[in-house]
Point group: C2
Chain length 287, copies 2
């Protein structure tokens, strides 16, 4: 299963929608996807995940050492190609955001095994870890446009909102979809001791007794599918799915709202469609 390449897609659309058709776009779009790939390779070391996009991870095939080097190789390649083309403002934006992503990764690691993560704490982590690169991708697009500088904040805002929507749908999949659809095992975040919005919401709503039971499963781990089903039912019973879906829709609308003053163009329409794609990809599984 190949990557969805959603970050470079929104980057290109943002660039074109802001009026750009130049060749540095390819380099910048490439750098963005390379950085994303590097983070995945290192993430898989951190989480010890063996499957990604339906395939064995670098870490599980070649070991920690190769995966560490490979991630560094890709990170540095992204910046090297930007430097070669003299795309310094893109370099500046992407170095800032790469750093922010590592801070998000660290915060997430710090919050592992903490069942009491708040919604704000969760949003802060996914903002740094995921939405920041979407935001930078869109801002880079506007930044490379001939007259795009005035639009930079519009597009960074758009990117941040679709990034948040994207990550929440990703987290929703854990409680909705089957492994084949998303290319990685469900339940993995929970097994890793990470709580996400659907669970956080249900845990906030649930009565004490039900909370005690999932707390026990969370702290002591679980082995069987039966236990995971119990957690899924807990999240479904106490409103975790509906609330998260509402949040996804809300961020999607905010994203579209960011573009309201942008001149109409086929690319602006496509950015709207990108929002719909992100919001709707979770819909078939949420019935």
């Amino acid at each position: 299963m190949p990557g969805k390449r959603v970050r470079p897609t929104v980057f290109f659309l943002a660039a074109r929608s802001a009026g750009n058709g130049n060749s540095p776009l390819v380099t910048a779009g490439l750098a963005i996807e390379i950085i994303h790939t590097a983070t995945l390779i290192h993430d898989d070391i951190i989480d010890g995940h063996t499957i990604r996009r339906g395939m064995p991870t670098i870490f599980s095939t070649w070991g920690n050492n190769v995966a560490t080097i490979m991630g560094d190789f890709l990170y540095s390649k992204a910046f090297a190609i930007l430097g070669e083309e003299g795309l310094f403002e893109i370099m500046r934006l992407l170095s800032k955001v790469t750093h922010l992503m590592s801070v998000g990764e660290m915060l997430q690691y710090q919050q592992r095994m903490n069942i009491n993560v708040s919604e704000d704490g969760y949003l802060d982590i996914i903002n740094k870890k995921t939405a920041s690169l979407f935001s930078a991708a869109c801002e880079c697009g506007a930044c490379l446009a001939e007259n795009g500088n005035g639009h930079r904040r519009i597009y960074s805002g758009f990117g941040e909102n679709i990034g948040l929507a994207f990550q929440i749908t990703d987290d929703l999949f854990d409680f909705l979809a089957i492994e084949e659809v998303i290319g990685k095992p469900t339940a993995s975040d929970f097994c890793d001791g990470k709580v996400t919005l659907p669970f956080i919401t249900a845990f906030r709503n649930a009565p004490e007794e039900a909370k005690r039971r999932v707390k026990d499963l969370f702290s002591n781990g679980f082995e069987t599918n039966e236990n995971w089903d119990e957690v899924v039912h807990f999240v479904q019973n106490y409103g975790g799915i509906e609330y998260s879906l509402e949040k996804v829709k809300g961020f999607g609308e905010r994203a579209k709202g960011c573009l309201k003053d942008v001149d109409p163009s086929p690319e602006r329409d496509a950015l709207h469609l990108a929002v719909d794609y992100i919001v709707d990809r979770v819909a078939p599984f949420s019935q």
Copy 2:
């Protein structure tokens, strides 16, 4: 045991010797040392080393996951602070070299357990892995100098040569020094299946029988100090030490030669002293 901070030292001296006294120097010198530190943290994951500078490594104290994130945090921080100060040419140089270092790391990993690495193969690896950052550090120094652009190749050549001298002395220490002096266990490279110049030389010179014996130790590993002593004696008996010391001196002289047309200044003198420091630090142990 703190780091020796030799890279930022030669960077500052190169900058001042080329005529620079400005404040971006601090940012650039900081970025160079941060990048070096990030590579050490990731190197320790790759090599599984538990001791560095006489202290437990991040990897051994906090695990792979924290060490992976911490390395990424530092790499990206280095580029983020350069971007903040608009030091784009430094960013360009350092992104290129960070990439080269990851290639060197990969080559070294690929050559693990290969006892037949050639001298050229070894020099290629240490050039990419170590000398490239020394070279870039010195070139950055010249690049930030008011009239330094004409000098860039002089300083990058100087840096490359002291980097090669530095790495060979580092590799020599494995066969000469005691653990307390260098802050990490001796024999570790050989135990990791990595051969370095002193061994490569002795292995080239030794008769078949002696070769067969160390080949056996190399391939099957060894547990006791006695075995390591045998390898050390092998390297000493077949000229590995003398040859490597000659190489160190040669690179040191080449480094000084690079500076021959540079206007005399206290900083140029100090760069000469830096060469002497690198060449001489191995001397007390080589008697």
